[in-house]
Amino acid sequence: MSAVHESLSLARPHPDLSGFEKIGWAVLACGVAALIVAAFGWGSSNPKAALLTVFGLTGAGGLWVAVARNGSRTPASQNTGMMKHPATSRGIIGWVLGVVLTAFYIVLYWFPAPLENLVRMVDPLSRFLRGTDADRWFLYGTLYTFGVSVMGIRAIIKYRHSRYQIVRTASIIFFQSVFAFTLPALLRLFNQPEYYFSYFWPLKYQYLFPTEVDHLWNYPGGIGVAFVVYGLFASFILVPVLTYFFGKRWYCSWVCGCGGLANTVGDPWRQLSDKRLKAWKFERWSIHSVLVFIVVTTALLWIDSWSRGAFLGRASYYFARTYGFLVGAVWSGVVGVGFYPLMGTRVWCRFGCPQAAILGILQKYFSRFRITVNGDQCISCGNCSTYCEMGIDVKWYAQRGQNVVRASCVGCGICSTVCPRGVLNLETGPVGTRR
């Protein structure tokens, strides 16, 4: 009779919640509970305490979960269970989150009254940074920046084996917290026009609308003139030049706040983007339609402004209003972020953003950027396509050994990170060598 030797294997059951991770979720839940209490009055009655409690608990809880969950997983197992978990595979939790997020945006844009107490909660921060009381947009910016920072740290933990992802995510956090949050606030503090250096026309379409240009141009002190010049420079020189050298990614996944949110807060849902050819066809129509829409709108506004309305009456005004409602609010906000847990994270960037459309055309025809495919090493496993947030069927290229040159690619680099065979690499080189 042989001796019985128990297995010495040390299996760690990571798909289940570890006790350590549960603590993090509990702290996070307390943070969310505090947020609800703040929204029902505490935010107004004791803003400082509410502010510290809400952000302290959600931040600590979120980071705790990230360390417990992503920190305990090895590089190759970060996506284990993604397509089975009800939160990340359009399961019940995903639907609930989608509804909650969408509802938040609808309230924020059109029915802000319930947010009043939360706006008051961020008053202390607003006074400190901007020297004035908060409004709902400051509340939104605070939540946004906070989300990008906390979930950005999570992304760094998750992709800690890739220096590209570490550097890129750090850049996202930096641009969001400094250029899209602190700097505009400080400008306001010093009585200068609030200006976001990391957004240009046509994404920030107002920057080349006649009213805004007038407003900046005539702003006392003259700094507004510099902003107008910067805006023109960024839209028409910086964008093409940097895209030529680095591809669209320099903006979409290193600088832009929309992309930043997608790659941090949205990272758990990147796999939900639609990879079908149909979706690609729709994408080309929709994104270029939005571009045409905003170009026409801007042109009409200028014609109107020069002709003092003699020419087109109020047509341009209606164009601008429709654009602001449909594209600015419904699409980029409600659908773009609200639908994260259902349609993936780049719905806006992929189907709607006119800046992405321009960057895409430049990338496709006038850029040194491509994703290189390493010989014949592809095994068609499908990880790259699955985890592409832009819905590019990357493996379609990889399995035929063809470099990926696509207008929509934002160069997030995740395909290269998740490929189990080292097939994909983001590279730059002479334009003619891309195919």
């Binding site: 269970g81 050819l277 080292g422």
Partner: protein, 450 residues
């Protein structure tokens, strides 16, 4: 002309695609396994919940109709080579063919161990195996995996992802020693153990004992130990799946014998992929190479020859890749697990022992024959270029950075590889001239700006 292809794996599909590229012939592709082509290599990711089955399909479903490739889901029961028909196990009407392509794939090896038919004992090859593994591992705690190859590692990773402990039995004295040199093999062993695998080298399976309800209860090893377990994964290699043609006129040995044009012994019948056995393989190559890449390389040759061409099958310079948990592995050219007398091997390993670069070359001429990478990505084109051109170790080391395919910002280790070489060969020191960049790779490949 009607071409019937049995098997919708990568070999059959590649053949069909290339037939369609060049001709308008009628194509029928048959498989009993799944309705659509899926990536066998991705089975583990379905189990681990990283992808759905749908996401492992290399082509969207519309592809087949658009390219007029008719798909038939059925098992072929018999081939009538005289009448030129195939007969189906479902009783479906027989189908005639003008050209037949056999792309039947492999089957898992089982070596007749006592108890191997118990419930809870299985291999991993087909989609049905995956479904069975799903059932067999539900709610269990302990598993034993057998066989030091690539599918075994994947199985271990799959099981651990569900918190099932894994005892891994390997006959050899080192992990994957049949293709890995000692250092890399030791690295993988360390890595598996770090991941919690109870790796037992030089241990063979003796017998599998039943537990409750006719299920597996434990295994007995060659060392006389009895290891309790609820699941046994058998991954001791695969063999060509040729049951369908075994007792027919078709010449077979281990696999279906094919000549350099991938023709079988019967006219108008071709074989490719895992099931084909090349009669006269090129020097250094094996007659049966059960790999994803084999199907991809053979498919176009079969298609061209069916359409009247005369193209020889040339597998080119060897390459392969895999991943052992977190460690990616790539090989280009010849890397011998046991170094022959006339060869030298430059082996550099990063501190931490999870990355390495190995270059194998001729002692006398310095000619480079192969690259082995662990945890570092190298460019296939550049490595193959050097091997094909017979580049010397000096040239390769000077330009080594050009082969690096790691993403931007990743550390580059080529400087250290060169330093190591110089320590060993102070008589002819080399200086690294090229670091990682697309332009450097381009210039090595084209000679522009050399």
């Amino acid at each position: 002309m009607r071409v019937v292809i049995i098997g919708n794996g990568v070999a059959g599909v590649t053949t069909a695609r290339h037939l369609r590229k060049r001709s308008d012939c009628e194509i029928v592709m048959i498989s009993g396994e799944t309705d659509y082509f899926f990536s066998r290599t991705a089975l583990m990711y379905i189990y681990m919940g990283q992808m759905t089955f749908e996401q492992t399909k290399p082509y969207e479903d519309y592809f087949w109709e658009k390219n007029r490739i008719r798909l038939l889901r059925d098992w072929v029961a018999k081939i009538d080579f005289q009448k030129r028909t195939v007969l189906f196990s479902s009783g479906r009407e027989e189908l005639s063919w003008d050209r037949l392509v056999l792309a039947l794939g492999s089957q898992s090896n089982f070596f007749g161990w006592p108890g191997q038919d118990l419930e809870g004992v299985q291999g991993l090859y087909s989609y049905q195996d995956l479904e069975r593994m799903e059932r067999n591992t539900e709610g269990i705690r302990r598993a034993v995996v057998l066989g030091g190859g690539l599918i075994g590692v994947e199985m271990a990773e799959m099981l651990l992802s569900r918190g099932i402990s894994v005892t891994y039995l390997v006959r050899e004295s080192g992990f994957s020693r049949h293709f890995l040199p000692a250092e890399e093999s030791a690295m993988v062993s360390r890595h598996l153990r770090k991941h919690g695998v109870d790796l037992r080298l030089e241990t063979e399976l003796k017998e599998i004992l039943p537990g409750a309800e006719g299920r597996v209860g434990s295994v007995v090893t060659s060392r006389g130990e009895e290891i309790p377990c609820d699941f046994v994964g058998i991954t001791v290699g695969v063999h060509p799946n040729i049951d369908l043609v075994k007792d027919t006129d078709l010449e077979t040995e281990r696999g279906i014998l094919v000549d350099e044009f991938l023709r079988t012994s019967i006219p108008d019948v071709y074989a490719c992929g895992d099931c084909a056995q090349v009669r006269n393989p090129r020097p250094g190559r094996r007659p049966v190479e059960p790999l994803w890449y084999t199907g991809k390389l053979m498919g176009p040759v079969v298609a061209e020859n069916i359409l009247g061409g005369r193209r020889e099958y040339d597998p080119g310079i060897w390459f392969n890749s895999a991943r052992f948990f977190d460690i990616e592995y790539q090989v280009y050219g010849e890397i011998r697990p046991a170094l022959p007398e006339e060869r030298e091997s430059l082996y550099w390993e990063a501190p931490g022992g999870e990355r390495s670069i190995r270059i194998e070359f001729d002692k006398e001429t310095g000619r480079v024959h192969g690259f082995n990478l662990m945890g570092i990505r190298y460019r296939q084109e550049v490595c193959h270029h050097w091997i094909r051109e017979g580049a010397s170790i000096g040239t390769v080391l000077e330009n080594l950075g050009a082969a690096n395919f790691d993403p931007e910002f990743f550390p580059q280790y080529e400087e250290e590889v060169v330093r190591l070489y110089n320590e060993k060969h102070p008589e002819a020191p080399v200086r690294l001239r090229r670091r990682r960049s697309f332009l450097n790779a381009f210039s090595v490949l084209t000679g522009v700006g050399r």
